[in-house]
């Protein structure tokens, strides 16, 4: 069970969270303007990164807030958490324990 740093509540067990998939996929403002391929890309295409992955979590069983995190999918170590709407932080040094 992962230990996840909620930006609002602090470190909490994974059980309290819901995984929200890849982060920074904004819903198009005018979906009608997209062709089928572009729309399918928005709906379904995912980077599925092997390495540092920007992803959404929701503290579903806690403060109920969505937030973003950088996690290394080869170690499951979290490298950063940040609030929804904030830009993906640059990583000074990768790795490190979570």
């Amino acid at each position: 069970m992962l230990l996840i740093q909620c930006p609002y509540c602090g470190p909490r067990p994974e059980l309290e969270f819901a995984y929200g998939g890849q982060a920074h996929i904004a819903r198009p403002l005018k979906p009608a303007d997209l062709n089928d391929d572009e729309w399918a890309a928005f709906l379904y295409m995912r980077v599925n990164t092997k390495g540092v992955h920007a992803e959404r979590w929701r503290h579903a069983r806690g403060c109920n807030r969505f937030f973003n995190a950088l996690r290394d999918t080869t170690t499951d170590h979290f490298l950063a958490v940040y609030k929804t709407g904030e830009a993906r932080p640059a990583l000074n040094t990768a790795g490190g324990h979570s």
């Binding site: 994974e14 969270f17 995984y19 391929d37 709906l43 599925n48 999918t73």
Partner: protein, 417 residues
């Protein structure tokens, strides 16, 4: 190829078993091949075998970054069934089950396919509706699947707890008698040995690092940790790592890779005759020929390539098993392991051409890939050889997501694989 039989065992046994030869050659990459399969799991080795056997392509290689059969092929709960809801799925999986039925004889390798029956439990009215829909659809598609009352289910699987006092009583079950299990390692080794005998090179410890394309963007070579290999056809069967490999060719797919855990108990004398699956309480269980109870857990919630998951997945899996089979509470977990499963949005696989000419992909099997091994390998080989899908895998394209022709077993049936 040294023929396997009771006779050969005795003959070679009498001479101290000295005369056995390697089951497949330890090949090194040639400069070029007619086709290359990336990924030495059951699907990849099988595709190579069928390419050689049915399509006459023998100058081909399977390249595997680790050791063959070391991925999900060697990490799954070996359940085999074809009682899927949609016609497309039923056709694909039943094609596979038919191949399973004489795979041992075809490969001259005992893969221990054991059609001991796969039973899916219904715990509420909705389950009954869903499973009966399966039973009817399967029957009309020529796939065996029958409805059992709770008592009949208990008769078929005596350890089952059908008491009305449990939290989610068993109201009935759908049974596919042709379903069952097989010996997972043997599938990889059997295909490897048979493919090798047809001239296929099986190259281990060889990881793809890139693709080389010609002026028209078509595949012309594969870069690997063991050098550049020329080829015009590449079939990728890399399961959890598919996104990574296809990414090297600039192809992105609707895939996410999740950790999937499974576990076995200590070996015991025969105590569990069939395979039982319950979607409502998330459990599936069978007993291996070695005597271990083989139990599948759910996937962890997040994408990961670590091949391990959390303790809570095990507690939730085993509380379901203990609720259904209370006599197993005193059994002990012997070994737990994790795999990486690649999941598509509709939980159905992709067996198709990619936007890159000469590049083909077989992926997205989620938690259900083992059962499909022969069938998927067989139609994937066809697709690679003829540069067009076999009728059976024609619906399983990448484009179906763009066009909305989903084959959504998960949403439609919510039955785990």
């Amino acid at each position: 190829m040294q023929r396997f039989s009771a006779f050969s065992i005795i003959r070679r046994g009498l001479t101290g078993n000295e005369s056995w030869r390697p089951q497949w050659r330890r090949a090194s990459p040639k400069a070029s091949y007619d086709a290359i399969i990336v990924g030495g799991g059951g699907h990849g080795l099988g595709a190579a075998y069928y390419l050689a056997k049915e399509h006459g392509l023998t100058n081909i290689a399977v390249i595997e970054k680790g050791w063959i059969g070391g991925g999900n092929t060697g990490r799954n709960t070996t359940i085999i069934r074809s009682n899927y809801l949609f016609d497309e799925s039923a056709a694909l999986y039943d094609h596979s089950v038919k191949l399973w039925e004489d795979l041992s004889q075809v490969l001259n390798y005992n893969v221990m396919f054991s059609p001991r029956g796969v039973m899916m439990l219904a715990h509420n009215v909705h389950d009954i509706q869903v499973l009966k829909r399966h039973v009817h659809a399967n029957r009309c598609n020529g796939v065996d699947n029958e409805w059992l009352s709770a008592e009949q289910a208990k008769e078929f699987c005596p350890p089952l707890n059908i008491s009305p006092d449990i939290r989610y009583p068993v109201l009935g079950a759908a049974l596919q008698r042709r379903g069952g299990t097989a010996r997972h390692d043997a599938v990889a080794w059997g295909y490897a040995r048979a493919a090798d005998a047809l001239g296929v090179d099986i190259i281990e410890n060889c990881e793809v690092t890139g693709f080389q394309k010609d002026a028209h963007g078509a595949i012309e070579a594969v870069q690997t940790t063991r050098g550049l290999i020329r080829t015009k056809k590449v079939g990728v069967s890399a399961a959890g790592n598919t996104s990574v490999v296809l990414g090297l060719a600039g192809v992105s797919l609707p895939l996410e890779s999740f950790p999937l855990q499974a576990l076995v108990s200590e070996p015991i004398k025969p105590a569990f005759p069939c395979v039982v699956m319950s979607n409502t309480i998330h459990a599936y269980i069978s007993q291996s020929d070695k005597g271990e109870l083989v139990i599948g857990a759910g996937t962890d919630a997040y994408t990961s390539y670590t091949q391990r998951g959390g303790l809570h997945i095990n507690t939730h899996t085993l509380d379901a098993i203990c609720e259904l089979f209370p006599m197993f509470r005193r059994m002990q977990m012997l070994r737990n392991w994790g795999g990486i499963v690649d999941v598509t949005p509709d939980r159905s696989p992709i067996i198709a051409k990619t936007p890159v000419p000469g590049l083909y992909v077989n992926c997205g099997w989620g938690t259900g890939g083992f059962k499909a091994t022969p069938g998927s390998a067989n139609v994937f080989a066809w697709t690679i050889a003829r540069d067009e899908p076999h009728p059976i895998n024609a619906p399983f394209t990448i484009e179906r997501f763009r066009d909305g022709f989903l084959i959504d077993e998960a949403a439609a049936a919510a039955v785990a694989h």
